[in-house]
Subunit: 159 residues, 3 copies
């Protein structure tokens, strides 16, 4: 273990509130000089989707997944009290009132703080997501790269 | 890293079964002389709510959250097989039969073992929870305090 | 902390996709010479169930749990987009197309790589699961054994 502190988060969840928690911890850790990686896999990839409809060639099943999954951070639902999509609006109203930072801006902030945002290539394949559908300036890697980061640090979370 | 062993758990979930897992691990670690912190954030704060109705001034939205969220550990639902609230009763019947310890007593036990119970102030704000609505003898802090504990240990879990 | 790298995963979830993530990380870590333990607790025990109906003496409640919970890895549902059981079929079709490895084979692979698969005895009791209902060549232990493994390593995940 080196002297550099390191925080590595697997973001598996596609829930708005869980992704918020991941990015709040990541931004906090970056502010305290940790080297921080967020490895987005499965539904967590949705946090990295661009919100426009990118035209790419897809199979029927990939198109279905593409349509059913939220397109970008601000379209994600809540893990609790989602109320058919009304919950996120409630949370966002409350967040606005308390000057809390929306997820999409937490992601921007993470990029500015050099948090390494990684998209898991294996699950991109499975869900039919292509590189140009995801945000710019992210990395693409697999579980080996995740482990290489994780084994160097001690704050390792699966969210 | 110091010689003292340390376990730090983020309890994000408001599910009875997940909170049980968190407190069982915490109590186990405390018994093995770890310094243990449970940092309650988002729905995990509900585990710390007093079960009576505390009169505090709240906005309309805060009142709604307050009413919809479970008031205390024993009111929480299950992450699986909740069956509109019947699941928790089933689990509790089975727990009783096997002399397993209910969550509310696991929390007491944790306090007796000096597990540090922390309520995340940022999400208390968001959900409109006030200090006197939560259990006595807990701490109030933010993500910086969480990271300060987490970076000193290696058993770091997000539940 | 010893020089041997160690990855310890608590598999709490009974979701097919989360269990896949756990086993993909475990197999990756084993390939990189980590000593790996997966501690199956609560609904995560279902990943270890044999798919046949084993005749054992059970109470009424235990029988109910036994019937309602998925019997083995390939019967588990998804954490997102489960669509009353249609989601897992979609995912498995897509996995087949991409030559991704089904969960049941990821578990076999883990056993071949000497990943230590542990069933949590306390939650086996609660859910009424008996040793001969679970896969062969797994271990049976409690939270103390989990902590003994976890405190020696730094990649500690709760899934």
């Amino acid at each position: 273990m080196t002297d550099i502190k390191r925080t590595t988060i697997v973001l598996f969840s596609g829930d708005y509130d869980k992704a918020m928690a991941a990015y709040i911890i990541a931004n906090g850790a970056a502010a305290y000089d940790h080297e921080v990686t967020i490895f987005h896999t499965f539904w967590g990839l949705n946090a990295l989707r661009k919100d426009e409809d990118i035209q790419v060639k897809k199979s029927f099943m990939e198109k279905m997944f593409g349509k059913m999954m939220p397109r970008g951070a601000e379209k994600m639902g809540l893990s609790k009290m989602n109320f058919a999509g009304f919950g996120p609006k409630m949370i966002k109203d409350v967040m606005k009132k308390h000057n809390a930072i929306p997820l999409i801006n937490l992601i921007e902030m993470a990029q500015e703080q050099n948090v390494k945002l990684v998209a898991c290539t294996m699950t991109m394949d499975l869900l039919g997501l292509q590189q140009n559908e995801l945000l710019d300036n992210i990395e693409f890697a697999g579980v080996a790269a995740y482990l290489a980061d994780a084994e160097e640090g001690n704050v390792n979370l699966f969210i």
